[in-house]
C-alpha cells in the first residue's frame, strides 16, 4: 500500500547500503531527484541496474555509491561518453566498479522476466555478438519444441526500483504517459518501489481506461517532487533540458569541476530545487 512521504523519508526507508537498485526511465522520466537524495544520504556499495546509465548514474558513480553497474548503453544520449563512469572503469576513481554489460533487448527482457516472476528471460538474441563471450550471465537454452537455441539471461529482481511519473491520485495509483520505457516492469520486478510524481490529483476518473497505471498496492512510496526528472523531461509538463546534457560533458570531464558541481547542486540543496530548474522548459 503506497505511503505518501518526503523524499528524504522514502529514500531512507527503502534504499540500503549494498542494495541492488534500478533507477529507470528511457530518456524520458529519469528520476534525478531521487538519485540526488541517495547521493545526499551517502548510500554505499550499490549494484546499479539501468539500460542507459546516462547522467544520473554518472553522478552516482562519480560520488562513489556504486560497486557494480548492469547496463546496455553507457552514453550521454546525443552527446557522447559518460566521463565519470569511464574514470571509474579505467582509473578506479573514486573507486573501482564491476560492470555487467548487455544489449537493450536483453535488459528489457530481464525486467519483464522479473515482473513475470520468472528466474530468467528467454529471447532470440546475441547471435554472433561479442558480449556473450565476455559476460558469463549471457547463456543459452534449447527450445524443447523446435530445438532452436535461444539466449537466456537472469531476470532482474531489484531490491528497490525508483521511477518518476506524471501524477498520482489520493489513493496512490500512479499514471505514466508518453515514452513509458521499462518503468512498469522495473516496479513490478522490484521488492520495493519509490515513485516521484509531478502532481497529486484527487482521482483518475476522467482517464482513458487503457493507460499505463501502477495500482497503489504495487507501489511502496510516493513522493511529490515537481521537476523531479530534470534534466530529463516529463511529457505534458516540461521539455528535456538539452543544454544541461551538453554542459554535463564539460562538468564531468574534470574531477574537481565535477566535485564542486555536485556540492553546489546536489549536496547543499534539497528536492525543492528541481521545480525552479524546469521553469521555462
Amino acid at each position: 500500500m503506497a505511503k505518501f512521504q518526503s523524499l528524504k523519508e522514502a529514500v531512507a526507508e527503502n534504499l540500503r547500503d549494498g542494495d541492488v537498485v534500478a533507477f529507470e526511465g528511457f530518456t524520458h522520466l529519469i528520476p534525478h531527484a531521487a538519485a540526488h537524495e541517495a547521493i545526499r544520504q551517502g548510500r554505499k556499495d550499490l549494484t546499479l541496474i539501468r539500460m542507459t546509465p546516462d547522467i544520473v548514474y554518472d553522478q552516482m558513480i562519480g560520488m562513489g555509491l556504486a560497486k557494480k553497474v548492469i547496463f546496455s548503453y553507457a552514453g550521454n544520449p546525443g552527446v557522447g561518453l559518460l566521463r565519470r563512469m569511464r574514470d571509474a572503469i579505467e582509473n578506479s576513481w573514486p573507486r573501482g566498479i564491476e560492470t555487467e554489460e548487455h544489449s537493450h533487448a536483453s535488459m528489457a527482457n530481464a525486467y519483464e522476466a522479473g515482473a513475470a516472476g520468472l528466474p530468467c528471460a528467454v529471447f532470440r538474441g546475441y547471435r554472433g555478438a561479442g558480449l556473450k563471450e565476455v559476460n558469463p550471465n549471457i547463456r543459452s537454452v534449447t527450445c524443447p519444441f523446435t530445438g532452436e537455441e535461444l539466449a537466456a539471461v537472469p531476470a532482474h529482481r531489484p531490491d528497490v526500483a525508483f521511477v518518476h511519473a506524471q501524477k498520482a491520485n489520493r489513493r496512490g495509483d500512479v499514471l505514466v504517459e508518453g515514452i513509458i520505457g521499462v518503468q512498469k516492469e522495473a516496479v513490478l520486478a522490484a521488492k520495493r518501489s519509490v515513485v516521484t510524481v509531478e502532481e497529486i490529483v484527487e482521482d483518475f476518473d476522467d482517464l482513458h481506461p487503457n493507460l499505463c497505471i501502477l495500482p497503489h498496492w504495487t507501489v511502496t512510496s510516493i513522493v511529490h517532487v515537481p521537476g523531479g526528472a530534470h534534466p530529463s523531461y516529463t511529457h505534458g509538463y516540461y521539455d528535456r533540458d538539452n543544454a544541461a546534457y551538453l554542459e554535463w560533458d564539460k562538468i564531468s570531464a574534470d574531477r574537481d569541476l565535477f566535485t564542486a558541481w555536485m556540492k553546489e547542486n546536489v549536496l547543499d540543496v534539497g528536492p525543492e530545487a528541481f521545480a525552479g530548474r524546469v521553469k521555462g522548459l
Binding site: H28, G75, L81, H104, A129, G178, V182, L246
Partner: protein, 262 residues
C-alpha cells in the same frame, strides 16, 4: 542564390541513404544512425515510410531531428508508443521490421560493427558507449543498412569487438549461426555506395559519388577495396532532396540551440 550543383560529401551520403528507403519500409532507426536519412526519405519520396525508434515510438514523424532517441516529439508525432520490452519482443524480435539502420565506430569488410571498445574488452584503450539495441537490430531486421564517413580508423581490417554481427567471416556465416535474416545489404559512405558480393559477402563499391576517385576511396579505407566491374556514378542530389535536407537541419539547429540532431 543557392547553387544546387554544390553539395558536401555528408549531404550526398545522407541523400544516397534516403534514396535506399521506400514507402513500404518499416525502418528501425538505431542509436548513432543518421535519422536525417530516414526523415529526408519521409519528407521526399517515401511519405508513408514507418520510422521506429527504440524508445518505443512507432510511425513517428518529427518536424526536427531528435537529439536523443527518446525526445518527446517522437512520441507526440507517433502512431503509437509502446513499452521498451514490447518494442524489442513483439516488433523487433517478432520480425515486423524491414530495415535496421545502423552507424558504426568501427566496421570491417563483412559489415561487422564495433561500438563497444577500442582495444581489449577488459582493458580498453577507449570505452565506447556500447551496443544499445544494435546486437538484435542486426540479427532481427530483414536487412541492415549501414552508414558512416570513410576513415582508416573506422573502416578497419579487423574490428576490436563484435558488437553486432554482419556477415562474420563472410560466405554463409550467418546461416551457420542460425540467423535467418539477410544482414547488411548496403553501406553508404560519404564517398561511395557499397553492396556485399553475393558469394563472399565482402562489401564491394558499386557506385562512387560525383568527383570521387578510386584512390580516394582506398586511402580512407583500412582494407583492400574491391570495385564492381560495373561501377556507376551516384546521381547528385536533386534540388528537392538538398532543400529538404538543409531545411530539416536548419529547423533542427534552431530547435536544439545550435546542436545538430542525430
Amino acid at each position: 542564390m543557392t547553387n544546387f550543383s554544390d553539395f558536401t560529401p555528408n549531404e550526398m551520403m545522407t541523400i544516397a541513404a534516403a534514396r535506399a528507403l521506400s514507402n513500404d519500409d518499416v525502418c528501425f532507426v538505431g542509436i548513432g544512425a543518421p535519422s536525417a536519412a530516414c526523415n529526408v526519405a519521409r519528407l521526399t519520396h517515401a511519405p508513408d515510410i514507418t520510422l521506429i525508434y527504440e524508445s518505443g515510438t512507432i510511425g513517428t514523424a518529427p518536424n526536427v531531428l531528435p537529439l536523443s532517441i527518446g525526445d518527446g516529439e517522437l512520441c507526440e508525432t507517433a502512431v503509437t508508443t509502446v513499452s521498451v520490452p514490447e518494442m524489442f519482443r513483439y516488433w523487433l524480435q517478432g520480425g515486423r521490421i524491414s530495415i535496421g539502420f545502423l552507424g558504426a565506430a568501427q566496421l570491417d569488410r563483412f559489415g561487422n560493427i564495433n561500438t563497444t571498445v577500442i582495444g581489449d574488452y577488459h582493458k580498453p584503450k577507449v570505452r565506447l558507449p556500447g551496443g544499445g539495441g544494435a546486437p538484435e537490430i542486426a540479427s532481427s531486421c530483414k536487412q541492415v543498412f549501414i552508414t558512416m564517413k570513410q576513415a582508416t580508423r573506422g573502416m578497419v581490417e579487423k574490428i576490436d569487438f563484435y558488437t553486432s554481427f554482419g556477415h562474420g567471416e563472410g560466405g554463409n556465416h550467418r546461416e551457420r549461426l542460425g540467423i535467418k535474416t539477410k544482414g547488411p545489404t548496403l553501406l553508404i559512405t560519404d564517398l561511395a555506395i557499397w553492396k556485399p558480393d553475393p558469394e563472399t559477402k565482402e562489401f564491394t563499391v558499386v557506385s562512387m559519388h560525383r568527383g570521387v576517385t578510386r584512390d580516394k576511396v582506398q586511402e580512407t579505407c583500412g582494407w583492400k577495396v574491391r570495385f564492381s566491374d560495373r561501377l556507376e556514378e551516384t546521381p547528385p542530389p536533386s534540388e528537392l532532396e538538398l532543400t529538404t535536407l538543409r531545411e530539416l537541419q536548419a529547423r533542427t539547429e534552431k530547435a536544439h540551440g545550435g546542436k545538430k540532431g542525430t
